[in-house]
Symmetry: C2
Subunit: 201 residues, 2 copies
């Protein structure tokens, strides 16, 4: 976020409404992470922000609209699917993100629970996750292809399968970590795999 | 299953009861795979087997008891967590299982959905999945250690992390495959990883 001056934020109706929306999204994030989307009730979200369900529906017209707001908010918080500077290597960006994720188990849980739940019938998060995987596979695949051009991808590695596998390993190790945080070192497992794929400069 | 003779099965009260239990478990499997455990209702399961909810509860005293029966039944169907013959290599057993899983998307979906859902508050499947991961990590870790003793584990590979990573990659690639079956070749991604870890004889 950038601001044009360091002065205190205005507290007009717009700022208040924006703050309320964010409070609702943060509460919904907690509730969906704890109970899943289907198991999480709008009433519980409304209770957490001290609002009636009717007032809440003034900000988000449906539970599915709230879900999408939560997913997009999550992307902002984690920087996920987002940018790395042109100077940062793929491996460094992955490990940095993995280490960050260790500090926000609730955010990782939300993602893991909703992603799997979105496989169930008529789930409103399905398109979000399908597109997210497509985008991530494309992005990593491009990075591996670029490394191959520099002669830094291990011989025989297929960029597309490596992209899908890296995402898969990351998702799966997060699940094991959420089940039992002491059982696995997420970042080290990812580092092992990246060390295999990518040759040193 | 073994039978002492090839004669038609007896249709006494015990056999009928056993058959009903199995029908309930199969219906519950479908319902939980489609809607998750929390979203799947006992009434829908009862409807699918043409039984009242009260009669169903005579066979399984609670929804959570039914969940555990479904998870155990799944293990029987997939042979998961189960045996490989001493002659079969780890890699061959993994690829065989992965190819089999491609033929039973509903079973894979049930596992993926319930596993993630078990991370949510007070989920009755949590212990099952925690123990399953512990057992699988131990088993694969032992196999990698045995390969290391034969000089067939790639230098620098840590057996415990490789075990966790293999399971993680497998889980994660299944999720991507369920989202979009044409987007990934599950068995080939696993084969790539095993080819990296394990040196040829």
């Amino acid at each position: 976020m950038t601001t044009s001056s360091a002065s205190a934020p205005k507290r007009g109706p717009y700022a208040k409404s924006k703050q309320r929306r964010e409070n609702i999204v943060i509460a919904a994030h907690e509730v969906f992470a704890e109970h899943g989307y289907k198991g999480g009730s709008l009433q519980v979200v409304a209770d957490r922000v001290g609002m009636s369900q009717t007032s809440l529906l003034h900000y988000f017209p449906s539970k599915s609209a709230l879900l999408l707001a939560v997913l997009n908010w999550r992307d902002t918080v984690t920087g996920d699917g987002g940018s790395r500077s042109p100077e940062e290597s793929l491996a460094s960006a992955v490990i940095r993100q993995a280490r960050f994720n260790e500090t926000v188990p609730g955010v990782v849980e939300l993602y893991t629970v909703l992603c799997a739940e979105s496989l169930t019938a008529k789930h409103p998060g399905r398109d979000y996750f399908t597109q997210r995987y497509e985008g991530l596979r494309r992005s990593y695949s491009r990075s591996f292809t670029a490394l191959a051009r520099e002669g830094r991808l291990r011989s025989g590695v297929d960029p597309e399968r490596a992209a899908a596998s890296l995402i898969a390993l990351w998702d799966g190790i997060q699940t094991q970590w959420l089940m039992d945080p002491d059982s696995v070192d997420m970042a080290q497992c990812l580092q092992d795999y990246l060390d295999f794929l990518i040759l040193p400069e």
